[in-house]
Symmetry: C2
Subunit: 134 residues, 2 copies
């Protein structure tokens, strides 16, 4: 696990809200959509299948747990789960709560620009995202 | 497992290329990007976490295996894996092989329109996608 370092773009766009095993849990509080990002602290992992199998499964199980929690906390109509990484290669998994009629619906949120939420809204969003982490 | 029926839009856009347990494996041969779609034959599943845990894991493990296979077969720069379902609610998982400079790069492919490949190209694409299934 040495030499792992968070990608600078992930560091700039999101904030750490928790950890689970070797997985850092981050949030995008300024986004219009409730949005968590899971980043395994595993050097050089780009694809999900680059991880050893136990870590693959751990990341998957955490994604399922947080996806269900996001759906419940935010009353979401749909959860979007994705490992894309075309822009930031470092392995990371998105979990995004979507609602009918949200500002990107029904398109995916990745690559959509948005007006960042104001500070009080970000604080409230973070409070609720942390609640999902339990 | 009774009463499962493939969503009509998935049926129209993709073709069945295989099965693994209760998961139907489909391909999008007309798309510019090598693209598989996994559809668990599980009635009323919308979210990945709607499946019983063994089926969740089975779907994940198949996604990992096919993702690695796609990367190898097509020499992809990145594999995109996603459960979105904002348009088609029936649970399905996308596995898409991406290359630097492909017609959507670096954006995700979902929602991108494209000119369908001609018949010989589709036949060749299907041949290679089936090879990934082993």
């Amino acid at each position: 696990m040495n030499q792992w370092q968070l990608d600078t773009r992930l560091a700039a766009d999101s904030v750490e809200v928790g950890e689970h095993g070797s997985i850092q849990i981050r949030a995008m509080p300024a986004a219009p959509w409730p949005w968590l990002i899971l980043v395994p602290r595993y050097p050089a992992a780009v694809e999900w299948f680059d991880l050893p199998e136990p870590q693959q499964a751990q990341l998957f199980e955490l994604a399922m747990k947080l996806a269900a929690g996001l759906k419940s906390e935010f009353g979401a109509d749909k959860i979007n789960i994705a490992a894309i990484g075309n822009v930031v290669a470092q392995l990371h998994v998105h979990i995004v709560a979507r609602h009918h009629g949200d500002s990107a619906w029904p398109a995916p949120v990745w690559g959509k620009s948005y007006e960042p939420a104001d500070e009080p809204a970000q604080t409230e969003r973070l409070r609720r995202l942390r609640r999902v982490l339990g």
